[in-house]
């Protein structure tokens, strides 16, 4: 044992000898010539890019004035020396210093986090008379497309006290910008990267001689996140929606749930957050007309209106409640239930209706009859099967669930037996207590389009240097075979049959399928709904649109889908035309050409 003790001591002594005698020169030079200063080398934040790689969010350089002084009194002196010549708020600087102190002992304090060119030149030119200060540069977030997709991209803001407390030690320092909402928040860990340290050699006079590369550790930049959005289509969709005062729209790839475009109107410019927003401006923005900060795609709940008839029809079919071919009612424009009169949107009435024609023409009276026999739990189960009442799993935080009124809900609300079948008459046409998000309706539509799968809508396709993320999908139980075929035929009829509520928005060269909706709104004009997929025979994309306070879905929302399809399948149209021309030319040659 004694031998082991001596050996281990000898190891330590050899180490000391190496440091103090063999390598003495080198360390002595470090110690004697230069003082080492270290500062944080901030990792540049990753970009958010669209599906083609076009940057939507990047960084621009901006400047800050820092001081190596660390006592409150010194910082006050430094701030005062600036305040004597420039509009600088000393009290605010000290407030930030108090939050900063003790957390970031190794980095110079950012006296002015956002210096303009006057400040920069003032500090640089008067360096000899001012207290020690440096102009440092750092990246600031830039939202290149301003208000475009603002709700989806989110924004960054200065890290808050609670975020600092919750994060791992040394991950954030006061003054850092972190994702606050949307994809900026969701992808924070990918985007952030890892800070490094820059070690500077400083001579006795305080002049920086250069960087000591050996001791420095470069930052690991944040990784770019590639989104499923297509910036051109996004611009197109938002442009169409922006002719109205408020609304939301989303386009999904029906097979995997990739979001090609997503809009919420009115919008705002996230650059305002990146440059620092005063409390007053934030309040103003929060309370502005139309509440622009509100994400109407996933955080707003609307009655699904007649788009919900797809679910009601599904409930009828899988439970075999009614023979779909049977002419159940003769619509005269209204139906009496008890002592109340329930009106169809078509005041003149639709005439004799079976399930197919009731869907195509969106006859309310047919569905009132269905509501008389529909059980609350059966309809709720069908809605749940289509993913209503649950989060779609969208990869931006803060999604709403919506509401599914089942028996338990009514029992809770009105007491057991305190409610009547009358509720169901409104529920089957999506006007009762059912509440959904625009995204949920789009997903329902995608499920019909893709053969019965609930996809997970998502914005993140992949992260730089990684394989695309696989998103799970789940089967809608019962949505297959004849049931599925029936619903698809009905939705196709809405656009392609002369009686269909969206017939006027059909395209000659592209068959699509859809369902209109008009959500009655006690506060004003109805909300217009439309959800659709195309092409009808081999669906690629699904869309859902809600326009607040406009009117009929077929009139106001459906044209947006038509124009989007037209734009999206434009190339397809060209292709078709070219092929047709080509075929014609070939035929011409075959028929009458020279032999």
């Amino acid at each position: 044992m004694s031998a082991l003790v001596v050996v281990l001591f000898a190891v330590v002594v050899v180490r000391l000898f190496t440091l103090q005698v063999v390598r003495h020169e080198r360390y002595d030079r470090f110690a004697r010539d230069n003082q080492l200063l270290r500062e944080r080398a901030t990792a540049p934040r990753g970009f958010l890019r669209d599906r083609k790689g076009t940057p939507l969010v990047d960084n621009v350089l901006h400047f800050e004035v820092t001081t190596p002084w660390r006592s409150r009194q010194d910082v006050e002196t430094a701030a005062a020396s600036l305040a004597a010549y420039l509009p600088v708020d000393t009290a605010k600087i000290l407030g930030r210093f108090d939050a900063w102190r003790g957390r970031a002992a190794h980095v110079p304090f950012p006296l002015v986090p956002d210096a303009d060119k006057f400040m920069i030149s003032f500090v640089r030119e008067n360096a000899d008379v001012l207290p020690p200060m440096r102009v440092a540069s750092r990246g600031r977030r830039r939202y290149r497309e301003h208000a475009l997709a603002a709700h989806m991209l989110g924004y960054v803001g200065e890290v808050g006290e609670s975020e600092l407390a919750a994060a791992a030690p040394k991950r954030y320092y006061p003054g850092d910008m972190v994702g606050k909402i949307g994809l900026e928040l969701q992808c924070e860990d990918w985007l952030r990267g890892e800070d490094g340290v820059r070690v500077l050699e400083v001579n006795a006079a305080g002049t920086v001689l250069g960087e000591n590369k050996e001791l420095s550790a470069p930052p690991r930049p944040g990784r770019d996140v590639f989104l499923t959005l297509d910036v051109d289509l996004q611009r197109h969709l938002e442009g169409m929606l922006a002719t109205y005062s408020a609304g939301a729209a989303v386009v999904l790839d029906v097979d995997d749930g990739a979001i090609i475009a997503a809009a919420s109107i009115p919008s705002y410019d996230p650059n305002r957050f990146a440059t620092g927003l005063s409390q007053a401006s934030l309040t103003a923005l929060l309370e502005a007309e139309g509440r622009p900060l509100f994400n109407r795609l996933s955080q707003a709940r609307y009655p699904p209106a007649s788009t919900f008839k797809v679910v009601s029809a599904f409930a009828i079919l899988i439970n075999e409640l009614i023979d779909p071919g049977e002419v159940l009612v003769y619509c005269t424009g209204a139906r009496r239930f008890g002592n109340r009169v329930f009106r169809c949107w078509q005041e003149g009435g639709h005439g004799g209706m079976n399930l197919m024609s009731a869907l195509v023409q969106s006859c309310d009276v047919y569905f009132y009859r269905v509501g008389e026999i529909m059980d609350a739990d059966l309809l709720a189960a069908a809605a749940r099967a289509f993913g209503f009442g649950e989060r779609t799993g969208l990869d931006i935080p803060g999604e709403m669930l919506g509401n599914i009124p089942d028996r338990e809900y009514y029992d809770r609300k009105f007491g057991r037996g305190g409610w009547t079948q009358g509720h169901m008459l409104n529920n089957v046409i999506g006007q009762g207590e059912y509440l959904t998000t625009v995204l949920q309706v789009a997903r329902m539509c995608a499920a019909v389009a893709n053969g019965g799968y609930l996809v997970r809508p998502h914005f993140v396709d992949h992260v730089e240097g990684e394989a695309p993320i696989a998103y799970p999908k789940k089967r809608v139980p019962g949505l297959d075979g004849a049931t599925l075929a029936f619903l698809r035929r009905a939705m196709e009829g809405v656009v392609q049959n002369p009686g269909g509520t969206a017939y006027w928005t059909r395209l000659a060269w592209l068959r699509s399928a859809g369902k209109t909706g008009t959500a009655q709104n006690p506060h004003g004009e109805a909300h217009a709904w439309y959800t659709a997929y195309a092409p009808a025979d081999a669906p690629e994309i699904a869309i859902a649109i809600l326009v607040e306070n406009s009117g009929h879905g077929g009139e106001f929302a459906a044209p947006i889908a038509r124009d989007f399809f037209a734009r999206f399948f434009e190339s397809l149209q060209d292709e078709t035309a070219r092929v047709e021309r080509g075929v014609d030319a070939a035929n011409a040659v075959a028929d009458g050409g020279p032999r």
Partner: protein
């Protein structure tokens, strides 16, 4: 008074020298106070306090010497229980900063983990002494295992990985001394070493060699001992199992937990924090050269680099000012104490006293070597003070008390 005749004056003198060096270094750290960001009061404050700790240490030393060993033996389990309760209490109290190591008793702040080191030495010595004290008996091994695991896990929870490992550094020599076979210690430790090597290979070295070399040597050991088939199979299986399981468990850890372990294994990785301390400490020690810059003449101590330069990193100031020569002398003094501790363990007739002497030697050895290795960048940065020299009451009192006990064993070596 045979006790007086066999009193080890050299040992006492060595300890006194180390304490004197400590006082001198602590004065130097804060001198000159003005200009380095301290007031003149600070310059004297730490020196005065350390002087108080030395005096209290002397009292503790006298107590350790005067109380008969059989009293310690009979109180061993009680002391252990009190220490364990204090450790639980310190964890249960609301957190103060990142870690929970201190317990406030009026104006004093004590570190229960330091006092626990006394408790485990006594407890293990008692378990492993007497005619039933063979460490190979399953009962004894289980008792030692449990009494080791409790403080180890509690201190790990603080979290203080370094101090937790001190308990490992104590239990192994004591077990070995009492007749536990080295090969079995290797068996016990190998899965832990294996886990650390897997993590090191994956996250620091980025190659599988550390684990590969280790597992091959494990297999060689197993082959050499193939006559003990069950043991060999268990050895290989447990190490391979750890090698397969650790990467899976690793992914379940939170990123900051992973980072903490990686920083422990590779302090250079955290260049803003611990790595920076090590770099600065190496510059200080290296710039000291053979003869040192001279007492009070150090330049690196004045810079902002070392938050713990009067406690865990005091050896870097010592190395800078006193040079290789001074550092070597200090290490020599430690070696004298430890070699003497082992000699006392040989000589002592009482099994309890003998085991205690080894425990004390292991304690001082482990702390001194790890502390110096840390400041020279050979060992992870952990909160381990340099006995007798670092500023701090708990460490000083515990070290002095243990030396008193050691003197006690040496002077009354003939007692059973």
């Amino acid at each position: 008074m045979t006790a007086t005749r066999d009193f080890d004056w050299v040992l006492l003198f060595t300890v006194a020298m180390l304490c004197a060096v400590g006082l001198g270094m602590i004065y130097s750290v804060f001198h000159p106070a003005v200009g380095a960001g301290y007031t003149v009061e600070t310059e004297h404050l730490y020196l005065q306090r350390q002087l108080l700790w030395v005096i209290l240490g002397a009292v503790a030393l006298v107590i350790g010497f005067a109380v008969p060993m059989r009293v310690f033996e009979s109180l061993a389990y009680l002391i252990y229980a009190i220490g364990a309760i204090l450790l639980v209490v310190v964890l249960a109290l609301p957190s103060r900063g990142e870690t929970q190591r201190w317990l406030s008793l009026g104006p004093l702040r004590v570190q229960p983990s330091e006092f626990m080191k006394i408790a485990v030495i006594f407890a293990w010595a008692r378990i492993l002494s007497g005619y039933r004290g063979d460490p190979r008996r399953p009962r004894n091994l289980a008792l030692v295992g449990v009494s080791f695991a409790l403080p180890f896990l509690l201190v790990l929870e603080q979290p203080d990985l370094g101090t937790a490992l001190v308990f490992l550094g104590l239990v192994i020599p004591v077990l070995y001394w009492r007749g536990f076979r080295g090969i079995h210690i290797f068996f016990g430790l190998s899965p832990l070493v294996c886990a650390l090597l897997v993590i090191y290979g994956d996250n620091v070295a980025h190659n599988p060699w550390p684990f590969g070399v280790f597992i091959v040597s494990v297999m060689v050991v197993a082959y050499v001992r193939r006559r003990h088939l069950a043991e060999s199979v268990a050895l290989v299986v447990s190490n391979l199992g750890v090698g397969l399981l650790v990467p899976i468990l690793w992914n379940d850890l939170k990123p900051y937990q992973q980072k903490r372990i990686v920083n422990f294994l590779d302090p250079g990785a955290d260049k803003l924090g611990a790595g920076w301390q090590v770099i600065q400490s190496k510059i200080a020690i290296g710039s000291g050269g053979f003869g040192g810059k001279g007492y009070l003449e150090g330049t690196q101590k004045a810079l902002e680099f070392l938050p713990a330069k009067h406690t865990d990193f005091i050896f870097s100031v010592l190395g800078e000012e006193l040079g290789f020569f001074g550092a070597f002398i200090v290490l020599l003094l430690f070696m004298v104490i430890i070699v003497k501790a082992l000699a006392i363990a040989q000589k002592a007739k009482g099994e309890f006293a003998s085991a205690v002497a080894v425990g004390v030697g292991a304690y001082l050895f482990f702390q001194a070597v790890v502390s110096v290795a840390m400041t020279t960048g050979m060992a992870p940065v952990t909160g381990i003070p340099l006995p007798f020299i670092s500023y701090g009451g708990s460490s000083m009192i515990v070290s002095c008390f243990l030396v008193g006990v050691l003197l006690n064993c040496g002077a009354r070596w003939y007692e059973y």
